[in-house]
Symmetry: C2
Subunit: 424 residues, 2 copies
């Protein structure tokens, strides 16, 4: 069966690559996901899946205790789910991928248009190709492969193309609230073909640092919020070091900073000739897989309230948690889906997989904690390329990943039979 | 005559304060100066001056070598000039004040609305009241006083209410190009009743600092432009220290930082979960009164190219000079207008004036270098309150300044006669 799948993948590789390119060329940054989702929905329908496409929203979602998004209206940002009903007696599997991509950043650092989908030397380039459209297309072609080979499954496969993962998972939360649950889930985020049974959580924060304005020519009459914000950045860096020194989980042994605190933006001051009186930092704090998010929040609060600076003691930085958060998640290391995936991996790649903990949050935390669906993260994208200029993916990895997912689906959901004799 | 003027001022104080309040309540930030200018123009017309109101612009202005503005279109931003023609045989005087104010900054640091014009304990509050609407109204009431007392002058008085001083002086440059020149000028910027025969120049700069983007969860794969920008801020601070250690002019002896380099704004990064790949700093560099602006620029370039950091050596910060600049300026210490002003000051305040160099640029540099009109800066506002939250002015100082200006005008322009017998 492994060889039949491999052969099908080779025969359909060009088609899959072309479809990935189309999806990459639809620049599905937040609020702009509809075009890419339409491509996916049409494809799922053509494959013969039941398609459910809807815009998240409503009271239940936006008042849910795990709802976390900078917006409450999702018009133009539909979720897409495709259902392949099994014939009964098998385990169900959610295949979950997000369609939203982060902004492309400084245009000058891209060699081509960030949404070019350019192919060169076996790589495809573009914002989102690694995080995680390449993974989405791998799982989509895994399903199409099994369908076309005439495989009939016992358990259901629920293919999810969700919005809003990059800002807190409200797309996946909406899918859970719509009733989509399963015995387990696979999320092909860019793990570089590593298997992540544990996912780090994370939360967005903002810190407001006050100064006091004055004319720049008499700047000694004021207090620069930029200079004070540097003390805050130093304190955050120190907190990060302290937190990471405590991490002893062997799944993190090869990761330079297991639970990073990233300061993603800084904005302050309005006028070159005025002393800036307010700087706002925004960032993302990593939460260890077994850590409570509230404990991580308290650690940050403590670091900011212990700053050794007279001005900051009198004008303490204001910390807020806003926008996105990703709940940490994990699956038992000996869970059956882990065994099935490891087996399929060995079978396709002829080597042992690397098993680590993820350096970022995924929608796996929500699937587990809210949906009762434990998740593994495993995908073809390159971890270090996520959110990076000239983001790319190796197309060979997309195909290999599709093969591994196809085998895993068959093993996990169980095969009821085949429709077309001779197809295998 | 001193006492007659003082008496007139006391009788008209309430009216002047009310007019200042109206002008402060017109929030004349850049692009929004028309309402305040209309008040001034109507007042000048009511006083019997010839009023010239026009929007700056045209090829001669925007291609002038001293033109420096973030904009080239000034619709909605008129200049106002009021001319009081002398009868001949006297020296002419430009009274120059800017109507534009800097933005109000962080609203939370203001106790009242920034444009309230609130009066309490002899002070008026509001953005621009000290820098420099209080000074403008002082010179306006000085002129009205002399007009109402029936004084006839020999030389012309040219009252100028200009736009755009806060971003490089294109309002004053436009007035010079329209033909307004004089034997000398007085600019009532907020000197705290000190007399500034020398004015520091200044220039706006922006510095772009590159990083390399990556996902915040693997931030060690990227380079934070925020962290790199801190090294740049440190280097600018060091340059400022070195430059100021060389200043020995006694006019600067009481000023903590004679020629400051202010970093006024910082903006970088787009997403909390991404490593920021670009930070832009904007600021204002002070230029010593006798220094060439090009020499100051070279000093900044050198400081930025000598940064000891491997990343910044490979990706040097990009420095640009943009938007505003203020040409340094000076008047001879023994100029006749200096003597007249010092004499009037002593006569009204009964003490010696403090004579210093200004901590900021004014339109005086343009008046001298382009218009051939040497200028003194002297005004009632509080130097440290310029661009400050809860900006205020002491109303007594406005009145005293008006008295001193009225006496100075009479002494400088010369009195041809009085219209109304018994008025003095």
């Amino acid at each position: 069966m492994k060889d039949t799948i491999k052969q099908w993948m080779q025969e359909h590789r060009e088609e899959a690559v072309h479809f990935l390119q189309q999806v990459v060329q639809a620049p599905s940054i937040q609020g702009n996901e509809a075009d890419a989702q339409k491509l996916v929905a049409d494809k799922l329908a053509a494959m013969g899946l039941e398609v459910d496409m809807w815009e998240p929203g409503g009271e239940e979602l936006i008042h849910h205790s795990y709802f976390c998004s900078p917006r409450t209206v999702f018009s133009g940002s539909p979720n897409v789910v495709g259902i392949w009903r099994g014939e009964g007696g098998g385990k169900s599997l959610i295949l979950n991928g997000h369609i939203d991509v982060v902004p492309s950043g400084d245009r000058e650092q891209w060699e081509d248009d960030p949404f070019s989908g350019k192919i060169e030397d076996g790589k495809m380039y573009g914002r989102g190709v690694t995080d995680m459209k390449g993974g989405n297309i791998a799982m989509l072609y895994a399903v199409e492969c099994l369908k076309q080979l005439g495989i009939r499954l016992k358990g259901d496969v629920v293919f999810q193309s969700v919005v809003e993962e990059e800002s807190g998972g409200s797309g996946t939360l909406a899918a859970i609230l719509r009733g989509y649950k399963a015995d387990a889930a696979l999320i092909p985020e860019p793990t570089g073909m590593k298997i992540f049974p544990k996912q780090q959580g994370s939360m967005w924060f903002r810190i407001k640092v006050k100064g006091r304005s004055a004319h720049g020519g008499t700047r000694y009459e004021g207090v620069s919020a930029i200079e004070k914000s540097m003390l805050v950045v130093d304190a955050v860096r120190k907190l990060e070091t302290e937190r990471n020194e405590k991490i002893s989980d062997p799944l993190y042994q090869n990761i330079p900073i297991p639970i990073p605190i990233n300061i993603g933006s800084i904005h302050g001051g309005e006028w070159p000739s005025s002393v800036p009186d307010l700087v706002e930092l925004q960032g993302r704090m990593g939460v260890a897989p077994e850590e409570e998010m509230e404990d991580a929040k308290r650690a940050m609060e403590k670091a900011l309230s212990s700053l050794e600076d007279d001005w900051l003691k009198e004008h303490p930085p204001v910390l807020e948690w806003f926008g996105a958060q990703w709940v940490p998640g994990m699956i038992e290391p000996d869970h059956e889906l882990m065994n099935r995936l490891i087996h399929a991996y060995r079978s396709v790649r002829g080597e042992e997989p690397l098993i680590e903990a993820s350096p970022w949050g995924t929608d796996g935390g929500l699937l587990a904690k809210v949906g009762g669906t434990p998740a593994i993260v495993f995908g073809p994208g390159i971890t270090g390329m996520a959110h990076y200029p000239n983001e790319y993916i190796e197309l060979d990895k997309v195909v290999e990943c599709a093969e591994i997912i196809a085998l895993t689906i068959m093993q996990w959901c169980g095969v009821a039979g085949e429709k077309k004799a001779g197809a295998i």
